[in-house]
Amino acid sequence: MEFCGSHTAAILKYGIRQLLPAGVEMLSGPGCPVCVTDQADIDRAIALAKVPGVILCTFGDMLKVPGTYSSLQQARAEGCDVCMVYSTLDALDIARANPDKPVVFLGVGFETTAPTIAASIAQAKQQQIKNYSVFSLAKLCPPVMKALLDGGEIKIDGIICPGHVSTIIGSKPYEFIPREYGVACVVAGFEPVDILMAVDQLLVQLGNGRPRVEIAYGRTVSPEGNVRAQELLAEVFEPQTARWRGVGEVGGSGYRIRDRYKEFDTERLFDIKTGPAKEPAGCRCGDVLRGVIRPTACPLFGHACTPERPVGPCMVSGEGACASYYLFGESDGR
């Protein structure tokens, strides 16, 4: 199983499945930070955008994700100030340029992105930018990997560990996986050769019955990771329980802004009210995210749910498994 949307996309884009030996099956796990954002959180983000005077800054990925009632793109079309940014630093610049308006950054991402969010909070404090806050929805990967392994819905033999998340956290956080579950782990890069190498190394590990954590992306991943980024994360955030679409609540998998930075925490500054969150009828994003079904098994796939008219986030997101399956035509009968 791979736990990274970019790996899912690369596997499909390069037709890696066609090169696999018989008996090897690849499944996609919850590796898309957009797809795993809980519906209620999306609704709250849209509600924030609708607060008069608020400038909501977001990465492009989140613009089209459908909430229960609307989307950020729709809110923008209705006149809300929703601003797409490439970097949290751009959001800080916007806060500096608009001192009378609250600027909220929609902090979605995994451990690759979380340090950039932390950096913006730390810099906002240093530079005394008083109108910047972060709606912290970033998540951690190892806890959800544990949750899936504990859930036992699927027998996983090997895991392709996320490449860029591991650049930050290193490979050590995965060591519990071979130790407690006997599952082989390889951290992989994103070129086709990287993925092929990772599959090969996983098969070798399984072949000689000694599962461990290996790094096949040595050019950017070390066992310790980026220590400075980890220190910054610990300085600004503390772990909390977070809700993952399709998986439910996972302990220690969310980033809560610490008290010392509370003036930058959107949730403490705003009282965000929304109607009840409701996932769309028939949507099986949750099952897709846990690898229980392939996207093609969802009854909505390709008919009611397409990239032009997505029902759930797995189809909207550029890294969602459903979008990748649709775009690259993984046959499974199609």
């Binding site: 066609q18 930070p33 490439y86 992105t113 092929l196 990239p307 690259f328």
Partner: protein, 334 residues
């Protein structure tokens, strides 16, 4: 005269005439505009090709061109794709109140230069002014007429199994140049629009191969979308070799940075030609000698299997579907 466009400039009165004379007639000199009749009267024999397009690009000036050059090239190229020799263009401007008149003048200068390069005449035109906020600085519409020489039968429905697919040069240049300028992404560098009139190139191609079956310029939606259109129209299958598609390194880098695929990005100075396979090499030679075809390459072939479908052969030798563009192209970081 004023330096900004006023509503009065669109009212048909004295100010309108001043604007038309200063910005248009004075620059686009020819016998029809000199007469300023309500219609241009033209003499034409044989089969005519007729096309129209509107241009709403933002920003109106970008590396490699501007909205004016784009307008002329877009219409000239549409005519050329039917095998027609472009002759006459109409030009209509919808101008936002408050626009800089010198900007208008620069755009028309560019139109004049491009029309001269393409040997076409702007024979009739119109200007309207709308209130501030109702048009994004300037919208341009052009229509064009061209004459199709005897014996030329180029159509998207004419493409046959066995045809070679030739692409006249690098992909993604225009779309990524525009994207880098917009949306506050803050990238700069060696990105230049490929905006160019292709009728000269097409004329040379038809000379060595009057039997070109199909041609199309891959504008919005990119090469992938255009190939799908042709596959559908002609009811054929198309196989594309990923490694054969020429891409400039900065375009490739920009696409990687934003999580995009160059095959879906707009081009404004490229064409796809579907030609009898035994003429492909000679065509390639002729194209590569032309300034707008120097990176021409055979990127695939047309087959009778899987009619309506476009398949991509990856660098690994595996195959997957190359779907039509779905939805918007939004940059992503996740």
């Amino acid at each position: 005269m004023e330096d900004r466009v006023l509503m009065a400039h669109g009212s048909g009165g004295k100010l309108s005439h001043e604007l038309v004379n200063r910005c248009f007639v004075g620059k686009l000199r020819n016998e029809w505009l000199a007469r300023l009749d309500d219609s241009a009267v033209l003499e034409c024999q044989g089969r005519l090709a007729f096309t129209t397009d509107s241009y709403v690009v933002t920003p109106i000036f970008f590396p490699g061109g501007d909205i004016g050059r784009l307008a002329v090239c877009g219409t000239v190229n549409d005519l050329s794709m039917s095998g027609a020799v472009p002759l006459y263009l109409s030009l209509a401007f919808i101008i936002e109140e408050g626009s800089d008149i010198s900007d208008l003048e620069h755009v028309v200068d560019s139109i004049q230069r491009t029309a001269q390069e393409a040997s076409v005449c702007i024979v009739t035109g119109d200007t309207k002014v709308v209130q501030r906020g109702k048009a994004d600085k300037l919208f341009v519409n052009t229509a064009g007429i061209g004459r199709i020489p005897q014996g030329v039968n180029v159509s998207g429905s004419n493409v046959r199994p066995g045809d070679a697919v030739i692409l006249s040069g690098t992909v993604g240049d225009h779309g990524m140049t525009i994207m880098a300028q917009r949306e506050g992404l803050r990238f700069s560098g060696d990105l230049v629009s490929d905006c160019a009139p292709l009728n000269g190139l097409v004329a040379e191609m038809l000379q060595v191969c009057p039997d070109i079956h199909g041609m199309r310029d891959p504008t919005r939606g990119g090469v992938a979308t255009t190939l799908n259109e042709i596959a559908s129209q002609s009811r054929v299958g198309i196989i594309v070799n990923d490694v054969a598609v020429p891409v400039r390194p900065p375009v490739s880098a920009m696409c990687e940075l934003l999580g995009l695929d160059p095959l879906y990005i707009a081009n404004e100075g490229k064409l796809l030609a579907f030609v009898p396979t035994d003429r492909a090499d000679v065509l390639l030679e002729v194209m590569r000698r032309h300034k707008y075809g120097k990176d021409a390459a055979i990127i695939g072939q047309v087959t009778s299997e899987h009619a309506g479908r476009v398949t991509l052969r990856t660098m690994l030798g595996t195959s997957r579907i190359l779907a039509m563009l779905s939805g918007d192209i939004l940059p992503r970081i996740c």
